[in-house]
Amino acid sequence: MSDIFEREIRELFEELDRAAPGPPPMPRRPAPSPRNWTRLLAPAGAAAAVLLVIGVASQFLLGEAGEADDASATTAVAAETTAAPAATTAADSEALGDLNQACSAFIDESSQAVVTPPTTEEEHIAALQSLVPVYSALNESVDMADEAIADPAFGQIARDSADLLGLVTAGATGPLEEAAATYQTAVQKTAGLGEELSTYGAAECAGLSSRLYP
């Protein structure tokens, strides 16, 4: 093999190599849908309800709303609104940004959390451990929404959310023999929270809708 030939081959690869793009974002493990924590723990659809309420809170901040009675549209507001309209104040924009950030974190955490139905004490502990960041992100979102809405009725939801986070956190680090009972309590309380959120979100959305489209 001649040196010239070797150099020509190297140049071919070098030219292609110079066109290489940068690395893509790290791909995430998809959460298998039947094991998604929201399906396991929250038959009332806590995640969707949280997004609904956060969407309502966004609209309180924005001072305007689109199709507020449409859950998917409201969810889209919560998930996708990153820039507030020019009419909103800087403080509102900042609060809305925080709310969306908290909402995104909750979506990320809940989509990554995978809980197989636990049977042993160790599995119950592992399940609770994996749910701590989910409940933490959920509570963060609810806190943000609570600040935006400033409604005593929603304040109770925020307190229940904080209690639930406390329960799961304590269970994840508590005695092994209590893990199963804590897990079952968390399941029940999550379902209850989901119902509270659904009710509140639906009522607020209906109220907004009637004001906007009398």
């Binding site: 292609l16 066109a19 290489a20 793009p21 940068g22 599995e123 502990i125």
Partner: protein, 178 residues
């Protein structure tokens, strides 16, 4: 709105919990660390196999496949494993890749202004090589690896490396002499 966290459990219990959690949910931090370390070189490697249009997609698919593999938590050499995953991804997608490449050769895709353009004859020349021949040649000529290192990276024997490199050179010689 935050509750206190209980502390004071035994290290043995912590270990059992950690093992249970790790086996059930995987080690995301480890994955992120590995990905950050190797993603740029994996994309360059994929680029040498399928070109810039599909390099990122190939890496994403290969990495996701690796991360969700049952054997991934016990892999001792993640770098080599990911190189093999990228190569396998390309080989399993070979037919559609070849069809797309043929289309690109007929109508070169516009490149981003941030990327240097690649002459069509480069695609044409390297397109004559199989995925393994390209992989071996890339690691030899661009990464400057010797036979043994290429064999380790791709999980093949040094004999196979010699064979693939020899065939790659022979094909390229024919093309370059034309």
């Amino acid at each position: 709105m935050r509750s206190e966290v209980h502390t004071g459990e035994s290290s043995d219990r912590s270990q059992r919990r950690g093992d249970a959690a790790a086996s059930q949910f995987g080690d995301v931090e480890r994955d992120e660390r590995i990905y950050r370390s190797h993603a740029p070189e994996l994309v360059r490697f994929a680029n040498s196999l399928v070109g810039p249009s599909d390099a990122q997609d190939v890496v994403s698919s290969a990495v996701l496949r690796a991360f969700t593999s049952k054997s991934w938590p016990t892999v001792e050499n993640p770098r080599a494993y990911l190189y093999k995953a990228v190569l396998n991804e390309v080989r399993s997608d070979h037919r559609s890749t070849m069809r797309r490449r043929a289309r690109e050769l007929r109508t070169p895709a516009p490149h981003s202004t941030e990327m240097p353009e690649v002459r069509p004859d480069v695609y044409e020349a390297l397109g004559k090589l199989s995925a393994r021949q390209r992989a071996v040649a890339f690691l030899t000529y661009i990464e400057d690896l010797d036979e043994s290192a290429v064999a380790d990276r791709l999980g093949i024997s040094t004999g196979s490396v010699r064979q693939h490199l020899g065939r790659a050179r022979a094909k390229l010689r024919t093309i370059l002499d034309e």
